[in-house]
Amino acid sequence: MEQPFTMQMRLTEEAMILDLHGELNKPAETVLLGSYSWDDGLQDGRSCLILNLQEVNYINSAGMAVLIRLARSGKKSQFHTFAYGVSVHYQKLFRMVGLTEYLMIYPDEQSVMERISALHEAEQEEN
């Protein structure tokens, strides 16, 4: 049965987490890109966007294009984009279409959080 795309937003101190559900395809574009003004940066100066793809069961090229546009906005607006819960097959597809140039993939949320902490520590040391 078709599972329409839905999205829930969570906020942590350092990141905005999007829990994505359903099928990530062309119709998901409106939900994902239209629900927030990504070019303006993340809420309250957060520097990381985390995409939780654990509940996404289907991604096609249109869906990957949406992810690229989202991650590209992040690059412009100075936030990092992370993703976790991506199956091996879709990791392969992400590499094929060049999505991994915009998006860092981790196995789970904890790994992403550890990476973000390490990034912040490095930034503080630099400052």
């Binding site: 078709e2 099928e23 395809n25 062309k26 119709p27 289907y58 096609n60 090229s61 249109a62 294009a65 690229i68 546009r69 590209r72 199956s87 097959h89 597809l93 094929m96 279409v97 060049g98 140039e101």
Partner: protein, 707 residues
């Protein structure tokens, strides 16, 4: 054609060995003859020791040189460029070699011996008085001994060379030789017989002359032993030659038996007999090859006609999976020969009525197929004239009785389905009793007895009516489904069929169930030849069992599954295909690791078609076909557009993923297709332009091994 560049070296090696073995045999024979059979002083014509060894080595080298001069160049020429004239020349030289060596060896020993001994006679005896004392007899017996030895070596070489070159001639695959029949099959026999006879006579004559002339007297036991030895030698040589003939004849008899028995390769009578001589045996082999060629052509013609008949017959059969209202009708039929006598048909009468026929014509092959076609045509015309299923049977019977003339008969079952009421009226003319399966219940055989069509023009048939609830199934089949036999001759039988049907779970597509049943039946039967098999499964579906517009499934020859969809040209419609493909591929390739690749590639091709070919016009339908075989899955997606060339597209920068400057970073559909499928191609047929994706199981296995 298998041309072996090392053939020259192999022939030379083999002949070098033959020459050496024969000369050693001759040396040993001579030693035996002189030391054991006669007094040493009796003969004294050939030297021993180093001189003998020198002569043998010289003779061996001479024979090798002759072979290198006569044989090696022509064989090498053929190896480098295997043309017909070169093959003829090389084979001609190989066939002549035994005769040339025989004559050469005899001349090389006899002529010098005569010259030497006469010269000795002239030199030592200067007057006729000395000659008259009979010294010439001594020289004569020496000439006899030396030429007899030469003839012995020549005959052994003749037999051994014939035997040695034969495999090489066969390797050259000669299927015709010019001048075949010019010589006679008796020639080698005559040569061998005359040669061994002369060897015996010459050697015994020399023995007698030498014994008498030198005054030792006749040693009877040595004479008997010598006679027996040469008799054995002659018989062995003749036996060798005769065995060769027997071997050639056996090959021909075997081939003729194969031809008569109709055993030929799938490619069609390609096995021919090599023509390895120019005698009657060679001529017979050539004649046989011509006969086989002619029969092969006739057979291929017949095969072509049968293929045509098969195609026509297949077109008469209904599509494998038909949805009629709330009913789904799945049919499968397979002939064991090119054409068969089983029939099934589904005719839509109006929006709520469908007629189904299943039957079996007695006999097999073309006659049965002709009757089968006639019955289908008659059924289609009679069912449209109206009436109940038993009335239609009666009319068909009346018309066919005269035509069949009692020589053939047809068992036929006709069902009339009302898809709105959910009822089926069924009448049978001697056909196998169908099964009714209420949802979750065991199969019940629906009995009905009557004579098949073609026996009695006044035959009457009973009709019965069934109401099918959602999930109920009605299964019709032909006798081949129960009369299948295993290697022990045991029938598959009703009991096993009922057991199989009882295991059919509700909600599982009929195509999958029948596929599983057929696979188990095939493994039960092994390679045994079977009767034609047909099965029709009629199922009333519950609303939630199969999604609307689901795949039209057909089981093709060799267990191949053909699935077809018509999906709206819109985003997301590809999900329906992917969902159903999931189940179908999981069934056909249960351990596959490539399902996700397949689904993504197919999805991209459908999205491309929907967006570019059909312009996302939701009123238009995209035809999608997937063929699932045991080793290959092919998916064809009709694009609906003007098309493009796959080769040109592959030549472009498909893998350029830098789309950073584009607002919508798309355009990698073909790149994904290219990366995820094993091969993809474009084409065009009457339905329009299409993209075709190929997924190989072999590639999957090699990837698994690589991983």
């Amino acid at each position: 054609m298998a041309v072996k560049p090392e053939m020259c070296a192999a022939i030379t090696r083999r002949l070098m060995f033959v020459y050496a073995a024969t000369l050693l045999f001759a040396g040993g024979l001579h030693y035996l003859e002189v030391r054991w059979l006669r007094h040493e002083a009796l003969v004294g014509q050939f030297p021993f020791g180093f001189k003998m060894a020198g002569i043998m080595i010289a003779m061996w080298m001479l024979l090798i040189a002759y072979t290198a001069w006569r044989i090696v160049p022509v064989v090498r020429q053929w190896c480098n460029q295997p043309t017909e004239p070169r093959r003829e020349k090389a084979i001609g030289r190989l066939l002549a070699l035994p005769y040339e060596i025989l004559i050469g060896v005899v001349l090389l020993t006899t002529v010098p011996s005569v010259i030497l001994r006469v010269a000795q006679l002239v030199h030592t005896h200067d007057s006729w008085s000395n000659w008259a004392q009979g010294q010439w007899l001594d020289r004569f017996q020496q000439i006899l001994g030396e030429s007899g030895m030469g003839l012995t070596v020549g005959i052994v070489l003749y037999v051994m060379i014939r035997r040695s070159v034969r495999p090489f001639i066969i390797q050259m695959e000669p299927l015709r030789l010019r001048g075949a029949g010019r010589t006679t099959i008796l020639r080698p026999l005559i040569v061998a017989y005359t040669g061994t006879f002369m060897v015996t006579i010459i050697n015994l004559m020399q023995f007698v002359i030498a014994s008498e002339h030198r005054g030792f007297g006749m040693d009877t036991s040595a004479f008997v032993a010598s006679s027996l030895f040469y008799f054995t030698f002659g018989m062995t040589v003749l036996g060798f030659v005769a065995l060769e003939f027997r071997r050639d004849l056996r090959v021909m008899i075997h081939s003729i038996r194969e031809l008569v028995g109709g055993q030929w390769n799938h490619g069609g009578l390609k096995d021919k007999i090599p023509v390895i001589s120019r005698d009657e045996a060679g001529e017979l082999a050539m004649t046989f090859n011509e006969l086989r060629e002619r029969v092969s052509q006739e057979y291929e013609e017949l095969e072509k006609e049968l293929r045509l008949a098969y195609n026509i017959q297949q077109r008469l059969l209904p599509p494998g999976d038909i949805v009629a209202g709330s009913f789904r009708i799945f049919s499968w039929s397979r002939s064991e020969r090119e054409v068969g006598g089983d029939l099934c048909d589904v005719v839509t009468l109006d929006k709520s009525r469908v007629a189904i026929a299943i039957g079996d014509v007695s006999g097999k092959g073309m006659p049965a197929a002709l009757v089968m076609s006639a019955v289908i045509v008659l059924f289609r015309s009679e069912i449209k004239r109206g009436g109940s299923s038993n009335e239609v049977l009666q009319r068909i019977n009346e018309q066919l009785c005269d035509t069949l003339g009692g020589e053939s008969y047809v068992s036929l079952g006709i069902g009339l389905l009302d898809t709105e009421e959910g009822t089926l009226t069924y009448a049978s003319a001697g056909h196998m009793s169908p099964y009714y399966m209420a949802i979750g219940a065991a199969p019940i055989q629906v009995e009905g007895s009557s004579l098949p069509i073609g026996f009695d023009p006044a035959g009457r048939y009973e009709e019965m009516k069934l109401h099918l609830s959602p999930g109920d199934r009605f299964i019709m089949y032909t006798d081949g489904m129960v009369e299948l036999r295993n290697r022990q001759g045991e029938l598959f039988g009703f009991e096993r069929l009922e057991q199989e049907l009882a295991d059919w779970g509700p909600g599982v597509p009929s195509a999958q169930l029948v596929d599983g049943l057929l696979k188990r039946m095939d493994s039960y039967a092994g390679a045994q030849e079977q009767d034609d098999r047909t099965i029709v499964v009629l199922e009333r579906q519950s609303a939630d069992t199969v999604p609307a517009g689901s795949a039209n499934l057909t089981l093709a020859e060799g267990g191949q599954m053909i699935c077809q969809w018509q999906i709206p040209a819109t985003h997301g419609s590809e999900r329906q295909v992917l969902r159903e493909l999931d189940a179908l591929v999981a069934e056909a390739w249960p351990h596959t690791h490539r399902l996700e690749d397949m689904k993504s590639a197919i999805a991209e091709a459908i999205i491309n078609a929907a967006e570019h070919g059909y312009g996302l016009d939701t009123s238009r339908l995209i035809p999608v076909q997937v063929q699932i075989g045991t080793h290959l899955i092919v998916c064809r997606i009709y694009d609906g557009g003007t098309g493009f060339n796959a080769c040109e597209m592959k030549g472009k920068e498909l893998y350029d993923t830098d789309r950073s400057d584009r607002e919508d970073p798309r355009g990698w559909g073909l790149m994904l297709i290219d990366g995820l499928s094993d091969y993809w191609e474009t084409g065009r047929d009457k339905e329009g332009f299409y993209v075709e994706l190929f997924f190989l199981r072999k590639a999957e296995r090699s990837r698994e091994e690589g991983e």
